[in-house]
Amino acid sequence: MNKIILLFVCCFVITSISAQHGFPEGHYCNSENGWKTKRCKALYGMKKEDFNKVIVIPHRGLWGTPGIPETSLIAIQEAYNKGYMFCEIDVIMTKDRKLILCHDQQPNRMTNAPATFSNNGGVDDPGNFFRSLNYNTTTNNSVPDTNGSMYPIFPALKDLYYKDRQGNITNQKINTLEEALDFCKDKEIILALDIKVSKMSDPVIKNEYLEVMKLTLELAKTKGCLHQIIFKPGSAGQVTLPEIQNYLNQYNLWDTFSKLTNVVLIDIMGNAFPLATNKAYIDSWLSLPSLIGVEYIYKNPQDELIIPKSEFGNKSIVQYTKDKGFKTGVFHPTPTDETGSPGGRGSYYNPKNYGTLDDLRGSLEFLFGVPNNVFPGMLVTDRPDSDMDFLELFNLNSKYTKRSTVN
């Protein structure tokens, strides 16, 4: 009888812990040691905090000042040193299957690599660059030069240096995801990983995306920091849970993905995201145990993501997601260099991105002023310090943004 009571008590305690912390069984933050850490408390805050408080997340690390390039280890370190609990970073796979930190598909905006060729001026290049270049060795005849001919030899990516926002070459060599995880491991910081590929509509490319997920899971598992990363599926194009499950099942990594790590879904309107407003698609993600939030990238007051829809009970998709118990987030972009470039895929000049009446993401007043309870609880931003000042004016900062206020 005592044993039965003891068993009930144990079950109750375990259930309480799970219920209290909301982390799946086996997740590090669902352990006693895990719960003592600020990073688990911050993850918990992202899941359960008052939705009217905003967690600020440095986008591409904390960067922009001279000598601190975007999407680099030093930008992560800068975010950590300034006390940020979360840090978003981009990952790209090279031809020799190395995971490196870089945002663009072409190397020459962000690094001192030679300029590469683009079919239509760089606005929508095919993205055959990093995936055609080796990290460890030089690559022969793999990427076109500015005249459309192939570079006979392209330098090994490991020998390239990042450029800063002012376009100056820094002393920071291209970093790998492994270096980033080595730095973050056991520190009070969470890395949100945005896997970059070119066109997810291409099955070969999508397979490469899934391969990066697999490699990342294996790497984080080896390092013991699965709980310190957040996957951000959906940013590079639509990917469904069954696609991920089918791929990861081959390597027995589905449970690892669905329970032991963290996921923030990215949802955005556009040709590459045909399922953005599909209820079954949204519901499938909202039922994923490792999901801790959804970033809805709405661009203007007419955006389908923030307009009430009948299939979502006459609520907007954002509101629907909140009602399901998840914080939602937004992205606040700032020009990536002094020319006003929006960045991305090596584009130098694309006036159609941001800063138009169709795309008001650059305005904090717009992002936080949308009616119908669309108010976001996460803010991924290139200017986190500055944006925190904005939020402070209206008492909107979350205590989970900075290490010093997490308790």
Binding site: S118, G122, M150, T339, Y348, Y349, G355, L360, F368
Partner: protein, 766 residues
């Protein structure tokens, strides 16, 4: 019909002039519409009619200002809507030590606040430097840009993806009808305020990267011949193919018109002939086959698509974007002088072209040179020292002035433009003539191939030949004359007569101890102890510069702008006019007056030469670029009101010279005296909180510093140049400062409060 077109054109111009609004204000001179403490003065304007419901025109506001020796950390520029008799700030730009701080009035729900953020580009501001600061805003974008006066390349951008449509700014500007209000801070010596509308729609365009311009020949794949204009001096020529012409008739400037920094597989470009400066185009913009290609100044049909079918190929098809036809050689001819025409289809390799880049050796670097003929040993200069367009170029004996100097500037492709340092005009072959004997003259702009030059190493060391890019002929002295004022012409041959010695001129560098000539100065003649002022504080052209015993008004305040050749403009703060030799005179004793800067011709340019005999680093001689003579006080008069004239003298930079001028920087707000009183119209609408700081002497050289309420963190005692001499940690609202041991003179106190704000005051130690 023509009259109707002219009438319509006039109406269009009129409309443009109505809508293209621009207002310039000299804040130090013009009475403000309103004012406030903290040195702010402001104006109202009625250029804007901002609506919530439409896409509004963008506008820009620019202020030229100076940073003081120590940071004031005050508002430099602010603008917003008219509010009573003052200003409802929408945007403020402040100094925050070396960094700019942007502040925006924002609204969230029913709450309002000032959202402050430091510029993303930190540590932009240097001390004692003249800057231009510009804010451009439209519906969806905002850009701050700042650059040092006279140094456009120093520009730094701060760019945001938001504008009126997405900010509270629109509410503020739409609240009142047609009332934009803006204010600048007199503590930053705002010399000019410029307000300009940017037109409808999205006016703040991202900064486009400069296109990669190429210079070279268009070579046909089938005939291996060059696409060229007919080769006459008249314009509007048809196009033919020929072998290399050895002139600019077959040289083209390929200028990409797409927006990418990279060269994509297919991209658009214009082709401008280097001889005629006209564009390659199908004649009359006609569609169809066999339309001749010709040169035109119209831009309707000059955009060509460079199409490659194979990435690796160097040849491409040339598709006209307007007529949708390809450039080809008529009848697939391989003969010289075969016409170039259009074809609606690609018929073969006669439709394929290669662009072969020019690449001259370019043996000398850009800079100022004297140009001496080897045969005559005389120097190139402009006849009669003229600064007029079309004047002949002649030779003469070296006269020691800057008029013998030429700015030789290397261009892409390795050729040069050559302009006179005094006249600032460019060497050209008269009328673009190809013939031997055509005269060399000076022209206003460096366009056309006959205003571009190829410089090659001569047979003898240190000598060079100078050839017209258009004609390929050499610059020589007419008839190989050695006479004074012999004309310079072009000719196909010449032994020593075509050789020129190019000697590079360097200008005296400023002393390393001198932190730069930015900021605002009083300029004092050391011998007479009098200050340089404009007579009667006039703002009229040609008014004399004279001496005066005091320099308390802005009529005695000057700023300097360095030009790319190391010389300077010297500008009066009151009149905004420049120190200039009257009538471009070369004569001894000619008056120095004020004048517009014009094209920076030599008579308004000065070489500021450090005094090698005195240890002080702020004492100079002022040497006029055109005359080569020095500014001095007429008759060395010690009486106020004496004219300033130019003089050479036997020993102009000798130790006893009376032409020394001391530049005394005006550093702190407390010694800036305004000539008009400023009233506070509405104290409740003050833009900044007035200072509570009091400083008074309580004993010999003991000062009491009291801040009333704010706790002082630290006080720094500085020299007037901003050098920290002592610093005192305070931690109280008051402090007694003992200056015993300090030399008699003026010092600066820089007070830093606990809340990180700061302010500066001046004290006199006796």
């Amino acid at each position: 019909m023509n009259k109707i077109i002219i009438l319509l054109g006039s109406l269009l111009l009129l409309c443009n002039s109505i809508f293209a609004y621009r207002r310039d204000i000299h804040p130090m001179t013009v009475n403000p519409d309103f004012s406030a403490t903290g040195g702010l003065v402001g104006w109202y304007d009625n250029i804007l009619s901002i609506s919530h419901t439409t896409t509004n025109p963008g506008f820009s506001i620019q202020v030229d200002f100076s940073t003081p020796a120590i940071p004031l950390n005050e508002t430099i520029l602010t603008f917003g809507g008219k509010w009573g008799t003052s200003l409802d700030n929408a945007i403020l730009i402040k100094e925050n030590n070396a960094t700019l701080k942007f502040s925006r009035h924002v609204k969230y729900n029913d709450s309002y606040g000032f959202y402050e953020s430091n510029a993303w580009n930190p540590n932009i501001l240097k001390r004692n430097t003249n800057y231009s600061l510009k804010v451009e805003i439209d519906e969806t974008r905002l850009r701050y840009s700042i650059w040092e006066e006279g140094k456009p390349d120093s520009i730094s951008y701060e760019y945001e993806f938001y504008g009126m449509a997405s900010s509270y700014l629109k509410d503020i500007l739409a609240r009142t009808t047609k009332n934009l209000a803006y204010a600048v801070n007199l503590h930053y010596f705002p010399q000019k305020l410029k307000i300009e509308d940017l037109g409808s729609g999205v006016g703040v365009d991202p900064v486009k990267p400069a296109p990669t311009i190429r210079w070279g020949h268009l070579v046909n794949l089938n005939s291996n011949m060059y696409l060229r204009r007919q080769g006459t001096t008249s314009l509007g020529n048809l196009m033919y193919q020929n072998t290399n012409s050895d002139s600019a008739n077959d040289l083209w400037e390929l200028r990409p018109t797409n927006d990418s920094k990279r060269t994509p597989l297919s991209y658009s470009a214009t082709f401008q002939n280097l001889y005629s400066d006209m564009y390659l185009s199908p004649q009359g913009c006609r569609k169809g086959n066999d339309v001749p290609l010709y040169e035109t100044s119209f831009t309707d049909c000059n955009d060509w698509q460079i199409k490659k079918t194979v990435k690796e190929a160097i040849y491409f098809n040339l598709l006209n974007n307007s007529t949708n036809s390809y450039a080809t050689v008529k009848n697939k001819s391989k003969e010289a002088m075969a016409p170039i025409v259009t074809s609606e289809q690609i018929t073969g390799t006669e439709c394929s072209w290669n662009f072969v880049d020019l690449n001259f050796d370019a043996p000398i670097e850009t800079g100022y040179y004297s140009i001496q003929n080897k045969n005559s040993s005389k120097f190139l200069y402009v006849k009669n020292y003229s600064i007029s367009v079309g004047e002949y170029i002649v030779q003469h004996s070296y006269n020691g002035t800057y008029q013998d100097l030429w700015y030789i500037e290397k261009q892409a492709g390795g050729f040069y433009t050559i302009s006179n340092m005094d006249s600032r005009l460019y060497l050209e072959v008269e009328n673009g003539n190809f013939d031997n004997g055509a005269y060399i003259k000076q022209a206003d702009v460096p366009s056309f191939g006959y205003r571009k030059w190829i410089i090659k190493q001569g047979n003898e060391s240190g000598t060079y030949t100078i050839q017209s890019l258009a004609s390929g002929k050499y610059m020589v002295v007419q008839n190989a004359s050695t006479a004074e004022n012999a004309y310079i012409i072009q000719y196909a041959t010449g032994e020593d007569n075509k050789l020129w010695t190019l000697k590079k001129e360097t200008f005296a560098p400023l002393p390393s101890t001198w932190s730069g000539l930015g900021g605002i100065y009083k300029i004092k003649n050391l011998y007479t102890n009098m200050f340089l002022v404009v007579k009667d504080a006039s703002i009229s052209l040609s008014e004399h510069l004279i001496t005066w015993s005091t320099a308390d008004t802005k009529n005695a305040w000057w700023s300097v702008v360095q030009k790319d050749n190391g010389t300077w403009l010297i500008k009066n703060l009151n009149s905004q006019l420049y120190m200039n030799v009257d009538g471009n005179s070369m004569e001894e004793g000619a008056s120095i007056v004020q004048w517009v800067d014009g094209r920076d011709t030599g008579n308004s340019l000065w070489n500021i030469i450090p005094d090698p005999y005195l240890t002080s680093s702020n004492i100079f001689f002022l040497k006029n670029v055109r005359s080569g003579k020095y500014a001095h006080v007429q008759n060395d008069s010690e009486t106020p009101g004496a004219w300033i004239t130019q003089q050479y003298g036997d020993t102009p930079i000798g130790p006893n010279n009376k032409m020394r001028w001391e530049f005394i920087r005006i550093d702190s707000p407390s010694n800036r005296v305004l000539t008009k009183s400023i009233s506070i119209d509405n104290p409740d609408d003050l833009i900044s909180v007035p200072s509570q700081l009091k400083i008074y002497s309580i004993a010999n050289n003991v000062f009491k510093i009291s801040s009333n309420e704010k706790k002082i963190h630290q006080i720094q005692l500085m020299s007037v140049n901003g050098q920290i001499l002592n610093q005192y940690n305070v931690g109280d609202i008051q402090y007694e400062l003992n200056t015993d041991g300090k030399s008699t003179g003026v010092y600066l106190l820089y007070i830093i409060y606990d809340d990180k704000s700061s302010e500066a005051r001046k004290i006199l130690v006796k």
